[in-house]
Every structure is written in C-alpha cells, then in structure tokens.
Symmetry: C2
Subunit: 349 residues, 2 copies
DNA sequence: TTGAAAGCGCTAACAG
DNA sequence: CTGTTAGCGCTTTCAA
C-alpha cells in the first residue's frame, strides 16, 4: 500500500500522487480529486520514514522535562501539547528524571533532526547539551532563565522576585524569625529562591540565621524531613518559606504531626501554586507560578521559530530575533500564614 | 556526515560500517574498533529515517493516556518509560484528553508503523480504533479490562471487586446509609465501581437509594459539587464512597465547608490511592490502585510481544499467546472513615 | 500539467 | 570477513 499502488490505480505517475500531497495546486483539480478518492479508498498513508528521509521534517516536537510526576511539568506539557496539536504537530514527552544519562540519550536522539523543535527546562539541562543544541540549529526554546549567553527564545519568570515577595509577605504579617527550606540548589530556581529570601530579610534588617536555611529532597518526604528538623530545633522559627508546594505538603504534615498548629504556631509559605495547594489543611498560601501559560507561550515561541525557518529564506532579521517573554509571579494568599489572631498578638492588638 | 563519509574515512565499504552498527560480530574486531573510533570522531549518528525505511522499526513505543494531569496516568507513564528506557526504547506520550478526535489522530499516526508498540487504556479508546490496531498487528497492550473478544495482552485490576471491598469496609464499620459519587459512567471503570458498590449493599441487605448515587465530573471541582448536593440533601448519608481520590479531595473540601466533620459526621472513602491521599485532612481511606506497577507490567508485556515478533519467526505458539495479568486491589485504611467513637456509638459502646 | 528518474541514507542479500 | 548493489517509499528537479 504505497505511493506506487495509488499511482497505478489512478493511472498516473508517482510524481503526480506525491504532488497532490505536497503541492496540490500543481495538479488539475479533477485528477487531484480522483487521486484523493483513491487514497481514501485504499486507506493510504504516506510512509513517514520515506517522507522524513526526503524532507527532514517529522511533524513532531519534543518537550524535555525533569520529572513527570511533578504537576508543574505536566501542566506545562498540557500547554505545549495544546498548541502543538492545533498546529498539527505531535508532542514527544521526554522525562529525564534529572538523570544526566537519560538527558543525554534523549538529546542525542532528538538532535539529529528526528524532531522539528524542542522545548526544555533551563537549569535542568546540561550546558554541554545546550551548546550542542545551539550548534545543530534545531529550533528550541527554553522555559526559565539561566546564566550565560544562550541563543534561545525563552519564557521565564523571576524566582528571585517571587521568593522575595513571598518572604516579604511573611515579614509584613509580623513574622520575624523566618526559616527557608530550599530545594536542590543544583537547580538555579532553588538558588534564586534562596537569594530572594535572603534579600527580603536583609531589606527588613532581619537576621539571616544559617540554621534556618536547610535543604531537602524535592519531594513530599523531603519537605517532611526538613520541617521536622526545623521544628524540633531548640529555637524554632515562627514561619517557614518552602521552595515548592510539593515539599510544603510534607512540611505541613510534619508540623501537624509535631502537634503544632498552622498558622497559629508556625506559618507556612509555599511556591508553585500546585493544584493541590487549595486542598491541604490549612490551605496553602503560596506563589502562583503560571505553568500552563508557560507551556502555551513556550510552544508559541517554538512555532514562531519553526515558521521563520521555513517561510522566510530571505533571512528576515526581524523574525530571526530570539524572544524572551517574562511572566510575572504573584502571591496567592490562603490560610497557612498571616493568621489574624497571631498578627494581632504580634502587633499588640 | 553520513555512512559514506565514515566508510571513506575508514577505507572500507558502507556495508562494513553498517555492519558494525547492526551485526558487530560479523566484523573483525580490529576494523570494528577503528570504525567506531571514526564514528565518534566524526560525531556520526545513523539517520533515523533511512534506518526506519529499511527496518520498519523506530525504537519508540507510544503510550496513549486520557489525561496527563491525572497522577494515575503519569505514574503509569513513569513505569512504562522506565522499562522502555532500559530496553533502549523511547516513549512517546500521547495525551488524548478523552477527545475522540485527538485519539483518532494519534492512532492514525502511530498505526502506520511509526512506532514499534503501543500501550493504551482500555475503555478510553474507541472500539473502532482498537479494531484498527488489531488489524495492523501492531504490538499493543491494554491497561484495564473491557468487554469483547480483544486480542491484546493486558494488565488489569478488578474495579468491581475494589469497589465492593471499599463499600463493604464502610458497612463493616457500621455505616448503613452509604452514598456513591460516580465518575463518568461512559468509562467502564466507573460503571464497574458503581456495580461493586451496589453488590456490597445488596449483600448486606442495605438500601440502594437512587438519590444517593450521583455522578460528577472527574475533577476536584466535580467531587466538590457532587458532595455538596449530597450533604445538603434533606436526608444525607452517613458515608460516601467516591469513584476516585481526585473527586474525593473536592468532596472533603465541600463537606468541611458545610461545617461537617470527617469522619465523625460523615465518612469518606476514595479510590486510587493518589499520592496526595495521605496528605489531605483527614487522611483519606481509599482503594490502592497499583498504578506504577501497572505501567511496569504493561511495558514488560509489550516488549514480550515485540520480542516474540522479531525473534521466533517459527511461530512459537507459546509466545504468541496473549497474556492477561491481574493485579489485585487492596484497601488502604487511613482516617477518613471508621472513626472509633462513631463505631462505638453505632454499635452501642 | 505531467512523467521519468535521480537521489535521501541505510540495510541486507549476494558474491567473492 | 568484506564489498557491490538493489532496494525501502517518497520528493523533486528536469524535460516534455
């Protein structure tokens, strides 16, 4: 069931059949229709490999994420996939598990023109691999910002600013001793959040106590463990700012297990606005990360680039420019910090 | 940078180069090494299309899921991907959003040999498409069980039995008026859960009140709304069995919003054992669905079939048999039902 | 507007 | 063990 069968059946050459698929306007409407009918009748679909071998296009883009279990990334995926689907593209979701080896293997596969475009998470991809991507000129956009002079379009937010805002919110609610549970500092997001936290404290002339900054694995369990350590401290903090909601859920569990009330005894601030954040008890106050929108935007940027590549061969300087799109972060206030009674107590009625 | 370049550089024919890739043992170790070195030096990777065009193999399997935001499916995905990766395969994650149109488009693409294997969720795929898959003889395994005489290997659980167990657990804890919030009954899982619920009540000669069986959208919000309706009923139930944890989270929220305590005023039983179930307040008692294991198993079954296809051309009747693997369901008891005081009250101390 | 034919890069008979 | 060569199915010049 190949192009020759169709051609034979239609009494034309394979070239004509090929043309109705690739340049329909170059074929007499009448024969075009006839050939289309025959295709349907024979249930013919062009062989993808043969097509790719000639065109070097696959109709698929790839999204490389570090952890498929994290809702942040699946929501991004949803956004990405949605616009890809509208454009008639398929999305290859690659899950690297933050493993250098898997990462490299995926990129290896993706790079050699096996996909038409790539979206990846900045800071979770080895710089060497990023360089490799640049070199191949594969259209690629990154989600997040990262040090260095990278030639990628990107959609990013300001984790530093988000963390600063979050911590400031805590301060404005009267908390003076504020701890921070960091994520894996190997990742720039976590490092920036830590800096934002520091900045906020500094701006308010609050003590930055190294004992109140502790790291954890970026899981529910990691948050649980870290919070336990913090709370059992001889001198526990009044509030904790936690690098992500996932860990915050674990922390909340830990704090409650210790018999402490949130936010009366200790306040908790998260980061991400995970879709579960409104359902834990107490509902988590957190920083809203517009993940779905990030996915949508990244995908749009990618298609912009891909289009620019195909359409204007006359190097249109305008379209060749990489775009950097900034999405602001806001605080989503719920119940896990800034308890009214507490505030009153602190400020003296 | 193609196979000819490598061949030229090594002073051998393309056949030899091809052989070191496909049948290394047919090449003198010495030249083999030399060619491998040259490949590395030239950073050569075989063209995927050309390869596929010859072999009709792509080294990718696909997993078709109905909803990427549902942790059930991402955990399955994780399991699937893990074994695929170990086998040197890539996983194409396709998210149909339960849309017939997307489904069809994906299958269309996948079917024509563009992937080497397929895993899909039974009951979420149009039977017509399933027939199509069967006809193409693409190795495929389904997760779940479904009516009909399908020729697929499968890994499945017994939703009916799980629901029956869950409801019985509620009954054994003394609840007599038990409501059920169903999922979308279009999906067989939901229908079976409903049946299991009915069966349990019948076995205990308990009333099956149609007013206590209500459906909802399979989201947190859907659960919220359904629970509200149930609770505001003139004659609310003592317990609710909910078709999935996701909806149960919403229901818990709704019940608490109504000023009712769980489980003192009303008990809640979920289904899935979503990874958040142990973190909501109260911790949710639910049916443990071994999703990760389902993913692993499905993937193994798929590779069994793929191997059988390539290795034994001498139709080994044994390996050609489809396998059906059953994974049992168990109740994960936590705090959202069977409160001690309540039980005492019911049974009279 | 159409057809003939030359590849795209690779694999696997087949022959040596 | 290695080389020659005929495809795999399609697209696209180039001629007609």
């Amino acid at each position: 069931m190949n192009i020759r069968d169709v051609a034979q059946r239609a009494g034309v050459s394979v070239a004509t059949v090929s043309r109705v698929l690739n340049h329909p306007d170059q074929v007499t409407p009448k024969t075009r229709e006839r050939i289309l009918d025959i295709m349907k009748e024979l249930d013919y679909t062009p062989n993808w490999f043969a097509r790719g071998l000639n065109l070097n296009r696959t109709g698929v883009i790839a999204l490389l994420i570090p952890n498929i279990l994290n809702p942040i990334y699946t929501e991004i995926a949803k956004g990405v996939e949605e616009v890809a689907h509208n454009k008639g593209y398929y999305t290859l979701l690659c899950n690297s598990e933050d493993s250098k080896e898997k990462e490299a293997a995926y990129i290896e596969m993706l790079l050699h023109r096996k996909v038409d475009g790539l979206i990846f998470i900045a800071g979770h991809l080895d710089p060497n691999l990023m360089t490799k991507i640049e070199e191949t000129h594969l259209p690629a956009v990154m989600i997040g910002k990262i040090e260095g002079n990278w030639q990628f379009s990107s959609v990013y937010t300001d984790y530093f600013e988000g963390a600063r805002k979050a911590t400031t919110h805590l301060i404005e609610n009267g908390y003076k001793s504020i701890a921070h549970i960091t994520g894996n500092l190997r990742f720039i997001e976590s490092a920036e959040k830590l800096n934002g936290y520091r900045e906020a404290l500094k701006n308010s002339n609050l003590e930055i106590n190294p004992k109140w900054i502790i790291g954890g694995e970026e899981t529910i369990e990691g948050g649980y463990l870290a919070a336990k350590r913090l709370v059992r401290n001889a001198n526990p903090p009044e509030a904790i700012f936690i690098a992500n909601d996932w860990m915050a859920f674990g922390a909340i569990d830990a704090i409650k297990t210790e018999g402490l009330r949130i936010p009366e005894d200790i306040a908790v601030m998260g980061f991400d606005n995970n879709r579960m954040s409104g359902l834990v008890e107490p509902k988590l106050t957190t920083v809203n990360l517009p993940v779905y929108k990030m996915g949508l935007t990244a995908s749009r940027l990618l298609f912009d680039e891909m289009d620019a590549l195909t359409s204007t061969s006359e190097k249109d300087e305008k379209t060749d420019q990489k775009q950097q799109i900034f999405l602001p972060l806001t605080i989503k206030v719920r119940h896990s910090c800034g308890h009214q009674d507490r505030i009153k107590a602190i400020f003296g009625e």
